[in-house]
Symmetry: C2
């Protein structure tokens, strides 16, 4: 009785691992956020799908755990990597609760995937080739003050910063807020980049300055990169050198 938590990468078959593809082929039920189950249906047409909108993660994960405990071959899918802002943590927590309540709790098996930090970086060139911080600007589950402190610390440490969930309808100005914090520590000319809809229709890739980044309108499907002091633009690409050695 295993519940697979599968990272599908950006969403196409090409971007998932061979292991993820094999696991999804062997399952009867695929559960996940509606946007991602819709991406999978063309590749795995003969599965049962169980999808719920955003903010119903706990209900969806609890349902999947219960089905797995009954012996169903089921996978919970997440975009990117399930361990990075995905369902792996919540499922481990729910599973630990279930284990206290019943002897028939399913085992959790995490199948890692390519996270947006990596798939977006590949489109931009090589923005992350040195130490970096990954920070989500969503304050749904994290107090804004904690997010702001982390932005300050990452900027102070001159780490490349990769921002997930840079904006939503309710948080239209959060990317600007984040840029303003980073601008306390870094030049307005700091090389930045973003990728929208990585590997999907309408993909958009842009390298720009921190000052310009402040004025773009990002959305939930945008991944943002703020360079460190040695990040440069090279032929339209965003490149952070490995360490500080000369090439």
């Amino acid at each position: 009785m295993s519940l697979y938590v599968v990272g599908i990468g950006p969403g196409g078959l090409d971007g998932m691992t061979v292991e993820a593809k094999n696991v999804l082929e062997s399952c009867h039920i695929i559960a996940g956020y509606t946007v991602y189950t819709e991406l999978l249906k063309p590749y795995f047409p003969h599965k049962k799908y169980y999808s719920t909108p955003m903010k119903q993660e706990k209900e969806r994960c609890g349902w999947a755990l219960a089905r797995a405990a009954e012996g169903e071959a089921i996978a919970v899918v997440c975009s990117g990597d399930p361990g990075i802002y995905g369902m792996a943590g919540l499922l481990c927590q729910l599973q630990a609760q279930a284990q206290q309540e019943t002897v028939r709790a399913a085992e959790i098996i995490v199948i890692p995937g390519v996270t947006a930090a990596s798939s977006g970086a590949a489109r931009l060139g090589a923005p992350l080739t040195h130490d970096f911080a990954v920070i989500s600007l969503s304050d749904l589950l994290t107090p804004l003050a904690v997010i702001q402190k982390r932005l300050r610390c990452a900027a102070m440490g001159d780490m490349v910063i990769c921002l997930y969930n840079p904006a939503s309808r309710k948080r239209a100005d959060y990317l600007r807020m984040a840029c303003d914090i980073v601008l306390e520590y870094k030049s307005p000319q700091t090389v930045c980049g973003y990728v929208r809809q990585i590997g999907r229709e309408g993909e958009e890739v842009r390298v720009l300055s921190l000052e310009q980044l402040r004025d773009i309108q990002a959305d939930m499907f945008t991944t943002v990169y703020i360079g460190n002091d040695s990040t440069m633009e090279l032929g339209g690409k965003m490149v952070t050198p490995r360490g500080y050695a000369d090439v």
Copy 2:
């Protein structure tokens, strides 16, 4: 004339993306660090391999770029993701130089892979489910003072810390040094974990306290995780809750 820079994940066929597998199948030459080309030979036996030991990255990448410019179907492989401490950055730099010197420079196409932060996290449970910093302890290309400052900043910001290259023969005590810096900000009971030889023979997975982590002997093939203030051990797993909401 394209040069593919391919992330192979932990090293087996299962852990690479479908795209990475297809690209390697379509290439004639696979170039990389000896350890990784040896891992690939059983899966792609009919290729030409070009491998060099550590610290000859520049020579190897220059050679591959020149071959690609001549029209050879060639891939440079990296373990994990080529954009995270991999060859993507160096290749973009060398390519920009080549473009200034010749009209026949190859284009760089980065095929992302599952980085050790993700593949190790999957083995431990869900240590990275919230904001995190990725820091390499190798001072080969980065001054030690910069590494130490980043460790301080990441600890101050209560980000989960994922350490790459935590030790080598010449840097046997660097993990202890890193733990001592983090201990200035965090409890000795902070939940930590490490994975050695992820997905390979002799894989070792352990959850332990920061105090205990200080005393382990890591090596180049170990990935280390230092939890944030809410990271917990749950049934032998290392789990960082998503945000601060109750489950």
